[in-house]
């Protein structure tokens, strides 16, 4: 899966968590916490959705790597094997 597809998958997850938000114009380099007020409960959900949808495990110590959309893509692309 290429980085663009990974990005789409991550945005899909965020869109399902933050139902009332417009996620079409998320900035890649600004933290999701600042853009959408995502908190630790929401990040836990992103991790669980990754596991549920894509069988990707994110250990707790790697949570900070999910801070921005760009860092998500960088960290997750090698984990999406197809």
């Amino acid at each position: 899966m290429n980085p663009q597809e990974v990005r789409t998958n991550v945005v899909d997850i965020i869109a399902d968590i933050a139902l009332d938000e417009d996620t079409s114009n998320l900035k890649g380099d600004v933290s999701l916490r600042d853009q959408l007020d995502l908190d630790s409960m929401d990040f836990l959900d992103i991790v669980m959705e990754l596991k549920k949808r894509h069988k990707i495990e994110v250990p707790q110590e790697d949570f900070p790597k999910l801070a921005t959309l760009d860092s998500c893509v960088e960290y997750l692309t090698p984990k999406f094997i197809h």
């Binding site: 009332d20 938000e21 836990l44």
Partner: protein, 460 residues
């Protein structure tokens, strides 16, 4: 052999339903056990002679306008994947705290209350502003357990005892399991949810919330069993391993989340358990359906917190009911009136034991007296009220006990809370009222937090 569950949830109230949704979303094998035939527990509904009646919910606290991202209500919508518009929230008009010589009006804009305090108690304005700052900076959702007297903390900021009593009236009656005081963290939760965030009503009342939760549960394929009371929780080596239902059926499980209350849950474990205090605070409520809408006799407030004394006695009365104070709720008086008829609900503090001791005949007589007193109070508040009541019902502490299962009909449960949800038994956790988050929003958040912490994350 019976199949084993990942988690059994005791009670299909707000917290149990929310916990069930969280676990079902992530593929856990869950069963929600409810002894009644409908969900809701303390916050439920019924129908009599074509009138739809709500119990529990007067107003939803923690109002957040659409687009708000932080705070308890947006958190619940996100965690349960419920779109904001589902509840069709209609904000309150205004509410009043009425004492013999003072009235304070509050709205969903804290500036209104600040200016009311300034007009009525000018010397307290600074203290009140500082108290608000203190409350905003306090982390009330910390799961640590120590009790701090809210009256002592607030006393450092507010010197006028009447103002202090007035400010405490809504937080106490809307959530305290303690008499005349509450834990400071709980006070902070209530202050934020009532005064800083504010009140609203879901279109259609409590049914709208419950049906959106039920719909989620159905969609996720979560098992929910009604008429399924739990007879006992089965433990092995100090660990919960299953339950026996009242019909004798045994269900095995890895974990149990109980919303039945702390002493009530411990009573289900048939071995030696720590003992916890039973709460003493229960209520009566008169529900009146009127021919006319409350506006026609001048009632334009959403809620009135009435107290006929300088001191607000939030305690178990020595008599059946304490008529010195009451909460009067006008469900029609939200920005949008979604009801088909006029409704007034009057809540009084009551003594469970006294009601429980009455024989059938006296019970009915006393219920009628509660109703008559409710009429008197409306007349006192609104002399234009004309008594055209087309339907009435009164519930008592006995009704509360029947629908919540709380010992002593204690609406807000035990004065002892378990903020981290743990019990003396491994894999047995408390959620809901006795975990300690308050109100409808608090109880949903409680179910969500405990499911996340002990079941979803606990598996890692």
């Amino acid at each position: 052999m019976a199949e084993k569950y990942d988690c059994l949830i005791i009670g299909a109230g707000m917290s149990g339903l929310a916990a069930g949704i969280r676990l079902g979303m992530y593929g856990k094998k869950v069963c929600i056990l409810e002894k009644h035939t409908i969900p809701g527990g303390l916050n439920s509904y019924y129908k009599r002679k074509s009138h739809l009646l709500d119990v529990g919910l007067h107003a939803l606290t923690n109002f957040a306008p659409k687009g708000t991202r932080s705070g308890p209500l947006p958190k619940i919508f996100r965690q349960l994947r419920i779109p904001y518009d589902t509840f069709k929230l209609s904000p309150q008009v205004k509410s009043k705290i009425v004492f013999p010589e003072h009235e304070l009006t509050f709205t969903n804009n804290i500036d209104d209350l600040i200016s009311e305090v300034h007009q009525n108690f000018p010397h307290e304005t600074d203290g009140f502003l500082k108290l608000i700052e203190k409350i905003k900076s306090h982390n009330a959702l910390s799961l640590s357990d120590s009790y701090l007297s809210a009256k002592e903390v607030v006393g450092e900021y507010i010197k006028d005892s009447i103002l202090k009593e007035m400010i405490f009236t809504p937080p106490l009656i809307y959530g305290s399991a303690w008499e005349n005081d509450m834990d400071f963290s709980q006070f902070v939760i209530m202050f934020e949810s009532l005064y800083l965030e504010g009140l609203s009503r879901p279109f259609g009342g409590v049914r709208t919330i419950l049906s959106s939760l039920e719909e989620k549960i159905k969609k996720l394929g979560i098992e929910i069993r009604y008429r399924s009371g739990v007879k006992r929780i089965i433990t092995q080596d100090n660990k919960a391993v299953g339950v026996e239902l009242l019909n004798g059926e045994i269900l095995k499980t890895d974990k149990i989340l109980s919303s039945a209350g702390l002493p009530e849950t411990m009573n289900m474990v048939k071995e030696e358990t720590p003992t916890y205090l039973t709460g003493g605070l229960s209520f009566t409520e008169s529900i009146l359906i009127l021919k006319d809408r409350p506006k026609t006799f001048g009632a334009d407030s959403t809620l009135i917190f009435y107290n006929n004394d300088k001191i607000y006695k939030y305690q178990k009365p020595k008599t059946l009911v304490d008529f010195d104070s009451a909460v009067v709720c006008f469900p029609n008086n939200f920005e949008k009136d979604d009801l088909n008829e006029g409704v007034v609900r009057i809540t009084n503090i009551a003594n469970f034991k006294k009601w429980d001791d009455l024989d059938r005949k006296s019970y009915l007589i006393e219920k009628e007296k509660v109703y008559q007193n409710s009429l008197k109070l409306i007349k006192k508040l609104y002399p234009g009220f004309n008594h055209e009541v087309i339907y009435k019902d009164v519930f008592t502490p006995k009704t509360v006990k029947r629908f919540t299962g709380h010992l002593g009909g204690a609406v807000y449960g035990s004065p002892e809370k378990k903020k981290d949800g743990t019990t003396a038994f491994k894999d047995l956790y408390i959620c809901g009222t006795d975990q300690g988050f308050l109100g409808i929003v608090g109880s949903m958040l409680s179910g969500i937090s405990m499911a996340n912490l002990h079941v979803l994350m606990g598996n890692k």
